[in-house]
Symmetry: C2
Subunit: 416 residues, 2 copies
């Protein structure tokens, strides 16, 4: 007998039929003798509908009232799921975030969980009841309803699992686990049995958006076993574990766990700019002031005397504005010239195996070189290597690296 | 400067445009220096949509979960209205029933208010804020969300007005006040400046459904001045007052205040039944057991020796079942025969003026007699006389009585 916190997202509860299917799934676990806490999101589309109403009412809707409004989305789902459970003979009680005592700070629309009261939950579970909790929401010290920001239902689930010392936090989604890369780009992508929290964080931030990044951090911090599974098919999904945990299969895992990619960035270089202290902040200052986020930053070795090239990437949507800022505020002061490219892709290898194995970067450059792919930028971290290449080579690069690093599914013909 | 509790129903907040219009109206009162508490219902159609979802999930949705579900309807409205007020520069705070401390018993879907905490409300009002409260909902001692039953937003408004000792509770609706009778039946119907609580109760229970009857009782009990006004047009509406209140104009008011009518009843008579103690309960017992509500009851003087006729009315929809019950359970035991009629109308004169003036009934019978309308049943109370007539004469009877008792609008040609 185990205690599971199970989270079902918007698609999984997107209709009355699906809510009934979730109830049946929960009943199955309960019939096996497990204690179940279910966390649900708003029915798919509902949060957007509500935010649409808010935007019709006001250009800048008051954040406290936005939380009051959108929190109704999950409240509808919890009540319907509790009804569906009752209807098939499973005693269940629904709770809003405020009712279950998910205490947060007062940062409306992006609140952080501070504390969870579990007394009542344990009482319900002890009495054989399934507890259904509204994800994404909480209450501040003054009794105001808060929300955790988009995707916050995952965080609710992990936080509840931590507070309840659950055996596992299971996140049900519309995919059946975490893959070595996006199966739409590489048909040989393989579901991972396990992945470490760190790897998951690198993959999530790079675009494999299965789980909300905050919930993964949370799981790592509180050592909550986190599993991603499909709402619609049976299967073991992917277990996300703290690295410390001994995994019998881990030694045989390949050097890298997954390949992430991102085609939504653009690259800008200030060529031939003075190589003096503070030049980086002189270039990036005006960009930060405009609230533009910079991702990769590389300053090359000075090619000519005391001049250097400074390269960075921004979101593609910020490319034009960034170019103008450099033109108007940076070049007049520093000199040099601008070179920009918005047809780039970032491809990243992620894996804790890199730590103990040299030569991953070199092997990566070889593979890309063999395919005739030129590398425009490189950046590395302890468990990740990212390269920027021309956008048109992205699929080719991902597939070649996927095969070269032993990630391909065994049941797929590698020539296929 | 006054403290007003203003309630806007589902039609008045049925769209974003209407919510904005309510915000403007509220702003107008606040700009005059008044303190305003606004109570709102769910946007029209929303409660039915939610109940529809519940019925899709379960044939018998769990009452606690029904309250959890439908209470989201008002929560959406309060947040949108608070946003709309902010957007036009009016500081406002929304509260759910639970947040504002509307404590009820635990009778889900039909809870009764027990207590309201007003500390926080007074604080907000004192700070110049408009307070927006979700109607129809509260919270029980265990923190469960409850609802007051359909139309309960009126009750919320009156209860808040009583707790806050408000100067007036204003119920904004889609009509501009209480009329002497239904203007669709009698074009000469006139809006009443004032009406007493007792009269309002008689009119409401008889079919002039402007206000929820519970809220009127509540207003009477706690001596809350209650005003019915239009959401869409300016105007003084109708003030509902306790009778004790001295009204300068009251002496000149006509004997009766309004004419109610109801065509949704049917009449059943048990003819020639024994005139013995307990016969009434022998006839009505099986009907009460079937949960059929009986309205008027009349036992005529025995026309033949120790036999009597016993007549009563039920809802038209219960007519056939009631007839069968009499046939199967009453006649075999008591003897006699059944006569039924489901083509009847009940027409009622209501007015506190009746108390001090004899002859109202007689005048009523004369007027109906002059029009050739036969009276099938009569029943009287202290401030009401009801007659049952053939349904086809209903409009004629209402119009003739309206004119005869001086209720016609002065600006309408009485021959028109």
């Amino acid at each position: 007998m185990a205690l599971y916190v199970q989270k079902f997202g918007g698609t999984s509860v997107g209709s009355v039929e699906r809510i009934k299917a979730v109830a049946e799934k929960v009943k199955g676990f309960r019939d096996q003798g497990h204690e179940i806490v279910v966390v649900v999101s708003a029915m798919s589309g509902e949060t957007n509908r509500l935010i649409g109403l808010a935007n019709e009412v006001s250009d800048e809707p008051h954040p406290r009232e936005v939380d009051m409004l959108v929190s109704t989305g999950e409240q509808v789902t919890i009540s319907l799921l509790a009804m569906a459970l009752h209807a098939i003979g499973v005693p269940a009680t629904s709770y809003t975030g405020a009712q279950v005592g998910i205490r947060t700070d007062s940062a409306h629309t992006r609140a952080r969980i501070q504390q969870i009261d579990t007394d009542e939950l344990h009482q319900d579970l002890g009495a054989g009841r399934v507890v259904v909790v509204a994800g994404f929401q909480g209450v501040d010290a003054d009794g105001n309803i808060t929300t955790l920001g988009r995707g916050g239902s995952d965080t609710t689930a992990v936080a509840l699992a931590a507070a309840l010392k659950a055996d596992e936090c299971q996140i049900y989604t519309d995919v059946d686990g975490v893959y070595t890369t996006d199966p739409r780009v590489c048909s040989r992508a393989r579901r991972l049995e396990t992945i470490t929290v760190e790897e998951m964080l690198e993959l999530a931030s790079l675009g494999s958006k299965v789980l909300q990044i905050r919930s993964v951090e949370f799981a790592g911090k509180y050592n909550v076993p986190l599993r991603v599974l499909s709402s619609f098919e049976d299967g073991p999904g992917t277990l996300i574990v703290a690295e410390e945990e001994p995994l019998s299969s881990h030694m045989e895992e390949p050097l890298i766990s997954g390949i992430a990619f991102n085609v939504n960035e653009a690259k800008l270089t200030v060529l031939n700019t003075p190589d003096i202290p503070g030049v980086a902040s002189k270039i990036l200052g005006p960009i930060a002031d405009a609230n533009i986020e910079v991702d990769m930053i590389i300053q090359n070795v000075a090619p000519v005397g005391d001049r250097t090239d400074f390269t960075f990437t921004v979101a593609k949507s910020d490319y034009k504005q960034t170019y103008r800022l450099l033109e108007q505020k940076v070049i007049p002061e520093l000199g040099g010239e601008i070179k920009g490219d918005d047809q780039i892709a970032k491809v990243s290898l992620v894996g804790v195996g890199m730590r103990s194995h040299a030569g991953v970067a070199n092997r990566m450059f070889q593979v890309l070189g063999n395919e005739g792919i030129n590398i425009r930028m490189v950046s590395t971290s302890e468990i990740k290597i990212s390269v920027v290449i021309d956008e048109k080579f992205m699929e080719l690069a991902v597939r070649a690296l996927h095969t070269a690093f032993g990630l391909d599914r065994e049941d797929v013909n590698q020539e296929g």
